[in-house]
Every structure is written in C-alpha cells, then in structure tokens.
C-alpha cells in the first residue's frame, strides 16, 4: 500500500519534471538556436499541437469520428484573412470573428451529426470539409484567391522570436485547458459515450448535450489554431482545408496516442519537426511518412503513450515465464 503510493508520487513527479524540463528547454531555444527556420518549424509545431489536441477531444475522447477537422482550422484561418484584408477589420476583431466562425461551423456540422453514428458520421464530416475545400479551391476563388490565397494578413507581433513565444504560450494554455477538461468529470462522461452510446444514455447521460459540447470544444480550439496560423503566416491558401491537413490531425494523434490529449500533442510536435527535418528525403517523404503510419496502426495502435505500458506488460509476462 505504502509502496504503491510512493511510486505513484514519484511517477507524478517524473511527469512534472518532464514538463518542467520541456518548458525550460522551450523557453531558451530561441536564445540557444537563433535559426529562423528552426523557429518557424517549432511555431508550426505549436500550432499543430493545438490542432491535434482539439481533434482528440471529439474523436479520441468522445468517439465521434471526425475525418474533416481541417474545416475548423481552415474556416477560421480564411475568416481571419478575409475580414482582415478585405474588410479591414482590426486583427484582434478578425481573430475573434475567425474563432467564432469555427464555433458556428461546429454547430452547423455538429447538430446534424448528433443523430449519426460510425461510418455515417465519418463520411458526413469528411463531406463538410470537402465542400469547404472545393469552395476554396474552385467554386469561390473570388473570395479565397485559390492557389494564390489571401495575402497581406496583419500580424500581432513581428518576427520569429516574438511569434515563437506567443505560440508557445497559446499552446500551453490551450493544451492545459483541454487536458483539464479531458481529466474532469466531463472527460469521463465523454469517454463513456465513446465506449457505448446506448449504455451512456442508460446511465442518464444527455449524450446529445455532451456530444455537442465536444463538437464545440473541438471546433473552437481547431479555430484558435487556424486563427493563429493566419496571422503568423500572413497568407492563407487552400493548404488549410486540404484532406492532408485533416488526415494529419488523425496521424499526429495516432502516433502520440489517441484519447489522451497529451499524446496527440506530442505526436504533432514530433511529426511536424520530423516532416520538416526529413525534407532531404524529398520525393520519398510522403511514402515513408505514410509507411510509418501503417506500421503504427498495425504494431503500436496505442501510439507512443502506450509504449511504456506495452514494455511493462511484455516485461511482466517475461517475468512470469521466468518463474
């Protein structure tokens, strides 16, 4: 009993220590590595961490298969860019409107999706994001600028270092909020819905309410990531609503560990850096990237977060065999 408690304390401390080490390292990176390119990659990583963690709340926690998460990111990014450049909104207002548009989209998508399950839901979310892609890439080029995109978005702070810190703070705050929600009573209820929706109803859970809540949380934080992206990149193109971007929300989460919030965050961080880091692989990059995903699904579906337990379990069985 005592030993169990002690080890859980050290485990907690170890986690805390890891977070602390990361925070210190993350804060001194711009001083230690004055490379604009590396900072750029890290800023993108911060943005994608928010993006992946927000996907995880809806799909990883609540089990609502969302294949089109880029729609929240993309709509918010476009809204920020368009209101800021064409309507001359002050940037802060554009960002508010952008995140609000993601919120509205989460309702527009979420409400019809409340009645859908499994493949129906997956394909409907897919369709919503595909519509957005088609609008941005062809049907509404007059607004989206097509391949050229919307240029000249203003930015809160100028330069890599200030943007780095801003994105770092935004990421930490967002992940913290999502993590707190995921580990609260609400998180437990969301997980119950994922496990079995009928059983959750039979427990008295208003599944409609909680699913919509998950949609909204997911959409709003996806929108926050998109809004930040727009002001940082200062240009928004169809890249923000592509299938690839939707897929990467899933990939990041899978590699890190779906349904853990922290896992997807770690996955997004590592993969964004790796993907940029592997640019020397040039033409083979997409192939290798996707082969890694296939391998993970087959051999480590719980992602990096499950690695610890998996090793422990294997050691455990090894020990038993030894006895």
């Amino acid at each position: 009993m005592m030993a169990g408690k002690l080890s859980s304390i050290t485990f907690l401390n170890r986690k805390l220590l890891a977070v602390l080490v990361y925070l210190i390292a993350a804060s001194i990176i711009p001083l230690a590595v004055p490379s604009i390119y590396i900072l750029h990659v890290l800023i993108l990583a911060h943005i994608f961490v928010i993006y992946a963690a927000s996907w995880d709340i809806l799909t990883g926690y609540t089990g609502q298969l969302n294949l089109g998460h880029a729609m929240f990111f993309g709509l918010s990014a476009y809204t920020v860019a368009i209101t800021n450049t064409m309507l001359n909104f002050p940037l802060i207002l554009s960002v508010v409107v952008g995140v609000f548009s993601a919120f509205l989209l989460s309702l527009i998508v979420g409400i019809p999706c409340l009645r859908l399950r499994g493949p129906y839901l997956a394909i409907t979310t897919f369709s919503f994001s595909w519509i957005l892609f088609l609008l941005a890439s062809s049907a509404m080029i007059w607004l989206s600028g097509g391949e050229e995109g919307v240029r000249g978005v203003r930015t809160f702070v100028v330069g890599s270092v200030p943007n780095y810190y801003l994105s770092l703070v935004l990421m930490i705050v967002s992940v913290l909020i999502l993590y707190r929600i995921a580990n609260s009573e609400t998180g437990l209820i969301l997980k119950a819905i994922k496990e079995d929706e009928d059983a959750a109803m039979a427990c008295g859970i208003n599944t409609t309410k909680y699913k919509l809540l998950a949609f909204i949380l997911s959409g709003v934080f996806g929108g926050i990531a998109g809004a930040f992206y727009a002001q940082y990149m200062r240009i928004v193109t169809v890249d923000v609503v592509t299938l690839e971007l939707s897929a990467s929300a899933i990939t990041f989460s899978l590699i890190g560990g779906i349904g853990t919030v922290i896992g997807p965050a770690i996955g997004a961080y590592i993969l964004t850096i790796l993907f940029e880091g592997f640019s020397w692989l040039a033409d083979y990059r997409i192939l290798i990237y996707n082969l890694i995903i296939v391998a993970f699904v087959l051999f480590l579906p719980g992602g990096l977060m499950s690695l610890r337990e998996k090793i422990k379990a294997e050691r455990g069985t090894g020990g038993e065999e030894g006895e």
Partner: protein
C-alpha cells in the same frame, strides 16, 4: 394521488416496415410490483422495453409514469425521473474498471441531486449490493459473462431508479450464477424498487415474479399470477408448448 398508476402503458404500438413488433399493448404496473414479461423469440419483449425506456419512439400509444406522460421523453430524462434498464446484449464500458462503470451512473445521479455522498463511495455500495466489490478494479472487458450481467445491474442501480427494467439478466448464465443473481434481484426488489423482468429462463422468472405478462406476436395474450399464466391454454399453445404443460401440471 394513490389512484394514479405507477406505470401505465396505453395501446402502445411499434411497427417496423409493416411488421407489428408491439401491437396495441395496454397494461399497468403498481409501485413495488415484480412483473415478469415472457414470450417466444420475436414476441416484441425487447421492443417494448425500448419503448418504455425511450430508446425507440412508438408508432402510436402513450406511456405514463407516475401520472406523467413520458411518451416523447428522451432516455436520459427517463433515467432522471427514475426509470433504469439493462441490455439483453450487455453493453459495459469495456475499457473502464468495474467501479468506473458504476461511477458514471452515480455521477449523473449526483448531478440530479439523487445522492449526496461522494459518487465513488456510492458506487462501491452498489457494487457490494451485487457482490462485485472484489472486482472493482478489474476492467469490464476482463470480467466473465456472469459478472458483466451483474455489472449492468449495478450500473442501472446507481442511477437510483424507482423502476428497474431487466432485459434477460439470466441469459447465458450457469446454474450457479443464476441462483446467485436471483438472490441479488430479489434483494433489489425488497429494497422497494419496482422491477420488470424479461426472461427466457422461465424457472427464475416464475420464482421471482408476482405477476406475469405473456407476449406473442406483439400482443398480450395473458396477464396474471405465474400459476394462472401457466394454466392458460392460449399461453401453453402459443409459447410453452408441451413442456409448459408438464411444467404447469408438475
């Protein structure tokens, strides 16, 4: 107030593409009763449960609970006013431990103001009630079938129901498990909870129920004490067959 029936089902029907799964069913249940519902496969028993608990919308007819029309009410709202259920095909939260399964219901019950204590303590009490306390930290997916059945009942009990609907709790259990579960259900009823039980294991159902309704092709063909039902010719013909005849006379 006392003449308001506890549960009142009026002319309830549910049609699936022309098939009358439940056909003009009318019955009442009094507070504190133990009602058994039997009938051959496809007689509409589970559909009837789904209608009473709100998992399906009826084609026509009305349901009143303690005088209140609940026909259009959502399942979770029915849980809130005191109707709980289990599933014929068990639906545990597989990746949750036994106690976490029950904590979910307790959590909601606390939010509804039905329990004051900490939901974990309450969940533990409920697990003890169904003799699963020793399994509290086992993942539901690792529990044997008989204990999953008990866990389902625990989860329903943790919603603090007044009316508990059990959908074939004995199916797939060994003789010993049946006996142990029978005791559990009996003691739940003794705590004052009204129970409606669908069952295929006739012996257990007959032993527990004070009254039995027999469904066949979605219609009620008999309604009475276990003894009366067993003597009913229509029932014997439609459902119990020759074995039922032996059972009734023996």
């Amino acid at each position: 107030m006392s003449d308001v029936p506890f549960l009142q089902v009026d002319n309830l029907s549910k049609h699936f593409r022309g098939l009358k799964a439940v056909d003009e069913v009318t019955f009442q249940v009094d507070r504190g009763e133990f009602l058994g519902i039997i009938g051959p496969n496809g007689a509409g028993k589970t559909t009837l449960f789904n209608l009473i608990t709100g998992f399906l919308k009826p084609t026509s007819g009305r349901i009143h609970f303690r005088g209140k029309d609940i026909t259009g009410m959502k399942p979770h709202d029915r849980v809130k006013i005191g109707i709980a259920r289990t599933f014929q095909v068990t639906k545990p939260f597989k990746k949750f431990t036994a106690i976490e399964n029950v904590v979910i219901s307790a959590l909601i019950a606390r939010k509804h103001g039905k329990i004051r204590e900490h939901e974990r303590d309450f969940a533990m009490e409920v697990l003890e009630k169904v003799n699963l306390a020793h399994r509290k930290d086992t993942l539901a997916e690792n529990l044997p079938h008989g204990e999953v059945k008990k866990l389902e009942i625990a989860r329903a009990l943790a919603t603090k129901p007044e009316l508990l609907l059990l959908d074939e709790p004995f199916s797939g259990l060994t003789g010993e498990e049946v006996e142990s579960l029978q005791e559990v259900i009996k003691s739940i009823h003794e705590d004052g909870i009204t129970v409606i039980l669908i069952e295929h294991v006739l012996k257990a159902c007959m032993a527990l129920s004070e009254r039995i309704i027999v469904l066949n092709y979605g219609k009620i063909i008999a309604d009475g004490t276990p003894q009366q039902v067993c003597m009913d010719r229509q029932v014997i013909e439609a459902y119990l067959g020759k074995r039922g005849l032996e059972f009734a006379s023996g």
